[in-house]
């Protein structure tokens, strides 16, 4: 069955929805997986062909991890989440594979040797994804850990500040070092924060929306309803400013705004948030030297004084731009570029290395993969009946987009360059682990979105009753997944907010 046919069936709100039995489509996923292996391992072979006479054991290990790991997840999906979205896993395998390829390729021409640990981390991350799917048969249990997640987020974010444990690398104190290995707790905090936001907003959004004073057309929430959100936001941003990690600060604030909007459907709040960002950003620019340097090297990148500046100069971004430009439309071919000229080519700047060797077309294809992946995340959010699942899936997907925006916008000089990893591609264990875990969550939520449901199975969930109204559950699900009728269905519930 083709993708188009399937999705049009999903889209249809035909009266015979009762007879429409969702298909697991695990075999389709397996086909796509094989395709993804061909792409990823093909890329590895291309690098190896050009550089070494025989197969490098590192490439064999990376390929084996990709195949075995994705097969394990595939089998677990078969057992535990048969109706999970069939596109998500193959897309992520391709992205991870291309990331491994680039890291291996950069290892070959620089003093780096990261592909071994990246392969090991890929294995760990895929196991984490598999474990999440195995143990998390129903993602809604995560609502129970809403406040634990908040505490965990704060704990994780504070961890690098602990003397003896925290490590400062390249001016940012966002790593912890255990037994010589470094880990970035902020990457995991991204997930725990999303869980907290999703859990808190799904249970309290009515209070936030409806209770409180109305000033003009804007209704301000009561402080006690909003306080936990505010605390979460304040801690994450405050800690990150102290830790000199602007990229993560943008990511967390963006996540906060996105989830607030997703929960409330109010642009005004996003607007207020953005105004706050602008004001905060301006003061940060004026007062925090780290931020000043970042913004100056963005605005005046081609100023020789800025370019030649030793610390925080624009050398990195300009070398990255040169790399992208030399790739042009078609790229120089895997192994033919000069990523060794760009610092952090295998982590923060991996996009420039990919752009140089695979060109605008290659990078565009990777962006399309990300867009597809994120769209499947949003699709799961649309389909799942529970508000928590909707918020979590959409929020995590939005976070991924934010991260891409910060990274690619940064290297193309659209916005100031700040250090963030490219999901699934940059060298870095914490990033891989966190993003694969997110994949596990998205797969679980997509399973609940697509699986056939017994009527009133979710009767205990107030949100669900409201959303599905008087319709039969199956029909309601297909309706949820299709059009904007949902707004009508839930309008009695939120009427106060609209009128």
């Amino acid at each position: 069955m083709t993708t188009r046919a399937q999705s049009s069936q999903e889209q249809s709100t035909a009266p015979d929805a009762e007879q429409h039995v969702p298909k697991p489509r695990r075999f389709f996923e397996l086909l796509l997986l094989v395709l993804s292996w061909i792409v990823a391992i093909g890329a590895m072979c291309l690098v190896d062909l050009g550089n070494t006479a025989s197969w490098d054991h590192r490439i064999v290990a990376a390929a084996a991890v990709l195949i075995v790991g994705s097969l394990i997840i595939h089998v677990i999906l078969h057992l535990k989440a048969r109706y999970a979205d069939p596109f998500i896993l193959p897309i992520v395998v391709v992205l991870n594979g291309i990331g491994l390829t680039m890291i291996y390729r950069i290892d070959l021409t620089t003093p780096n040797s990261s592909v071994g640990s990246q392969t090991a981390w890929s294995a760990v991350a895929m196991i984490a994804c598999a474990a999440a799917l195995w143990f998390l048969t129903d993602h809604r249990v995560l609502v129970r850990v809403t406040y634990i997640s908040l505490a965990a987020s704060i704990f994780l974010l504070l961890l690098p500040l602990v003397p003896g444990l925290g490590t400062e690398i390249n001016g940012a104190r966002i790593w912890i070092s255990i037994g010589g290995r470094t880990f970035q707790p902020g990457e995991v905090a991204k997930i725990t924060l999303a869980i907290f936001f999703a859990g808190y907003l799904s249970t309290n959004r009515d209070l936030i929306l409806l209770a409180g004073k109305k000033i003009g057309r804007v209704r301000l929430p009561r402080f006690k309803d909003f306080a936990p959100m505010f605390v979460a936001w304040l801690v994450s941003i405050g800690v990150l400013v102290v830790q000199h990690d602007l990229g993560s600060a943008i990511l967390f604030f963006g996540l906060f705004l996105a989830m607030l909007y997703l929960a409330t459907n109010r642009f005004t709040w996003v607007g207020v948030g953005l105004v706050l960002v602008a004001i905060g950003g301006f003061f940060a620019y004026k007062t925090i030297s780290h931020v000043t340097v970042r913004i100056d090297s963005w605005l005046h990148a081609f100023d020789p004084a800025v370019y030649n500046q030793q610390a925080g100069g624009s050398g990195q971004i300009i070398q990255g731009l040169f790399g992208l430009a030399s790739g042009g439309l078609f790229g120089r071919g895997l192994g033919n570029g000069r990523p060794d000229l760009v610092s952090f080519a295998n982590s923060d700047m991996i996009v420039t290395a990919i752009g140089e060797e695979l060109g605008l077309l290659g990078l565009g294809a990777i962006l399309m993969l990300f867009l597809m992946l994120v769209s499947r995340g949003f699709r799961a959010a649309l389909g799942t009946p529970d508000a928590f699942g909707k918020l979590l899936a959409a929020g995590l997907s939005a976070a991924m987009v934010l991260q891409l925006f910060v990274v690619i916008g940064g290297v193309t000089r659209l916005i100031p360059l700040t250090g963030l990893t490219t999901p699934f591609m940059s060298a870095g264990g914490s990033s891989l682990l966190a993003n694969w875990f997110i994949v596990g969550l998205l797969l679980a939520i997509s399973h609940s979105a697509r699986s056939p449901r017994v009527v009133n199975e979710d009767a205990g969930d107030a949100e669900d009753i409201a959303d599905t109204g008087q319709l039969g559950a199956t029909a309601a699900i297909s309706k949820l997944g299709s059009s904007s009728h949902e707004e009508t269905a839930s309008s009695p519930h939120t009427a106060g907010g609209h009128s």
């Binding site: 291309l46 690098v47 062909l49 050009g50 996105a258 909007y261 997703l262 929960a263 409330t264 459907n265 300009i318 731009l321 040169f322 790399g323 992208l324 430009a325 030399s326 042009g328 439309l329 078609f330 071919g333 895997l334 192994g335 033919n336 000069r338 060794d340 000229l341 752009g355 060109g359 605008l360 990078l363 565009g364 962006l367 990300f370 867009l371 994120v374 769209s375 949003f378 959010a381 649309l382 508000a387 909707k390 918020l391 959409a394 997907s397 939005a398 987009v401 891409l404 925006f405 690619i408 916008g409 193309t412 000089r413 659209l414 959303d467 949820l480 904007s484 949902e486 707004e487 839930s490």
Partner: protein, 480 residues
């Protein structure tokens, strides 16, 4: 909530469009400017660190790219630089490239149009760009011999096959070491270059095809002889006045005859004897009689004033125009403003040797891409018909007589008929000359045509160097 999700997705799509737009700007629209940015060292590394093709002579590399330990990846290395520097030229990141490195730059770097499919193949095979390798027509033994002849002197030798145009030897002395200029250490490159550039002996010139050019001296009398025969006014029996000093019209100076031969012994001479003894006055009279246009036309027919690349770019030799009679008289004996490359002189002899047909000189035997497909294979090419076979044969016979009985006798080779003509051009006031020999052998079935010129030698030394030098070159080829 679903509406918010949909709207968020729209925003997400907007972000992706923004990112693709931003990438398009950097990688496509603005890419050219970024590539040209002076801070962008990629171009430099690309161009000067790429694995260029080799230049080979008889299968062994005289220029090749070898892996380097620096950021470039590869560097250019030259061997036997005394013999081949003038041919290879240098490949410098500071001063650009010269010689074949420049003339065949596209092929050597793999960027020529004919290598398009190779480049496509490289994208898939992921090999480092490897340019085409170039095999030269140079005969290494002859090149070695010619280099030895020039050792310790300034001057040039060009030797070619008159029937095919293949260049068998090309020497420009003094030579230099292109390795010094192709290093990736720009400081030492600049230092070496400024030393070479300030050297009075101009080692960076390839005197065979360019540089300051030479006065061809009496070798130009071959042109006069051809012009005389073509005009129909003269033949082998024509008797010419042979005064010891010819008053030059419009001036109070006279043109003297060559003093080292036997010119003074006859007051009348035929062309054969005048050539044999290289007497000036008969040829000056022929030129003044035929006029500038006729001599100029003959010179042009033999290549004067014509663009040529072999594929080294050859500076066109010059026969002046708008001359007075006295200037024409001086020009007829290869003085005044007549300027010639040794290449041109060798081509003149080649045309005489090859029944009046001038073959296109070329030093490239094959160009092979790194996939070993042949991009170019030498084939003899006719350049022009310089004169009729009859005229060519007559001049050839005169040149043979010149070697058998005249002042070019030093070029005699046992058992082989050699055709030749010497020349001496006065250049300065110090009494030193440019000494020439040009000719070919065997005269009836020519295999090699040569032009030899030594700078700054006195007449006696010149005579000892040129014709005997030619003899050695002929022997080197004929005894193989």
């Amino acid at each position: 909530m679903n509406q918010a999700i949909r709207r968020t997705w729209l925003a997400v799509a907007g972000v992706f469009i923004l990112l693709v737009g931003s990438l398009t700007y950097v990688q496509f629209i603005h890419a050219g400017a970024l590539e040209d940015n002076p801070w962008n060292s990629r171009q430099l590394y690309d161009q000067y660190g790429s694995a260029r093709g080799s230049i080979l002579v008889n299968g062994s590399e005289i220029a090749q790219s070898v892996p380097s330990d620096d950021s470039f990846g590869y560097k250019r290395e030259y061997s036997q630089t005394d013999e081949y520097a003038a041919l290879t030229g240098y490949f410098s990141m500071v001063y650009g490239s010269t010689g074949l490195e420049s003339a065949l730059g596209e092929e050597l770097s793999g960027k020529s149009d004919s290598q398009f499919y190779d480049r496509i193949a490289q994208i898939f095979s992921n090999k480092e760009t490897h340019g085409a390798s170039v095999e030269l027509t140079i005969d290494p033994k002859l090149q070695k011999k010619a280099t030895e002849l020039m050792s310790g002197h300034k001057g040039s030798i060009v030797a070619m096959n008159p029937k095919t145009g293949e260049i068998k030897a090309m020497v420009s002395a003094p030579s230099y070491d292109p390795n010094q200029l192709s290093s990736h250490d720009s400081k030492s490159v600049i230092q070496s270059y400024s030393e070479l550039n300030q050297d009075q002996d101009k080692p960076l010139y390839n005197r065979a095809v360019s540089g300051d050019l030479y006065s061809p001296g009496s070798t130009f009398k071959i042109m006069d002889a051809v012009a005389a025969l073509e005009s129909g006014k003269y033949n082998k029996d024509s008797e010419l006045d042979n005064p010891q000093n010819l008053p030059l019209p419009g001036t109070d100076t006279t043109l003297p005859n060559y003093v080292n031969g036997q010119c003074a012994s006859r007051s009348k001479a035929d062309i054969q004897w005048a050539l044999e003894q290289s007497c000036n006055t008969p040829f000056a009279q022929i030129a003044m009689d035929l006029g500038e246009d006729k001599i100029a036309k003959t010179a042009k027919n033999f290549g004067y004033g014509q663009d040529l690349s072999v594929p080294l770019k050859v500076t066109p030799s010059n026969f002046p125009s708008g001359m007075s009679k006295s200037e024409l008289a001086l020009s007829s004996i290869g003085q005044y403003d007549v300027k010639s490359t040794p290449m041109q002189v060798a081509m003149m002899s080649s045309a005489i040797a090859n029944d009046g047909v001038q073959m296109k000189p070329n030093m490239v035997k094959t160009v092979r891409s790194n996939s070993l497909s042949t991009l170019y294979d030498f084939s003899a090419e006719k350049l022009r018909e310089s004169t009729s076979p009859d005229v060519a044969h007559q001049v050839r016979d005169w040149m043979v007589n010149d070697v058998d009985n005249g002042i070019a006798s030093g070029a005699q080779v046992d058992g082989t008929k050699v055709a030749g003509k010497t020349g001496t051009a006065e250049t300065g006031t110090d009494g030193n000359n440019q000494a020439w020999f040009t000719g070919f052998a065997p005269a009836d079935d020519p295999e090699l045509a040569v032009a030899i010129v030594y700078e700054d030698v006195d007449a006696v030394t010149g005579a000892q160097l040129t014709s005997p030098g030619a003899k050695q070159l002929f022997e080197a080829v004929l005894n193989q």
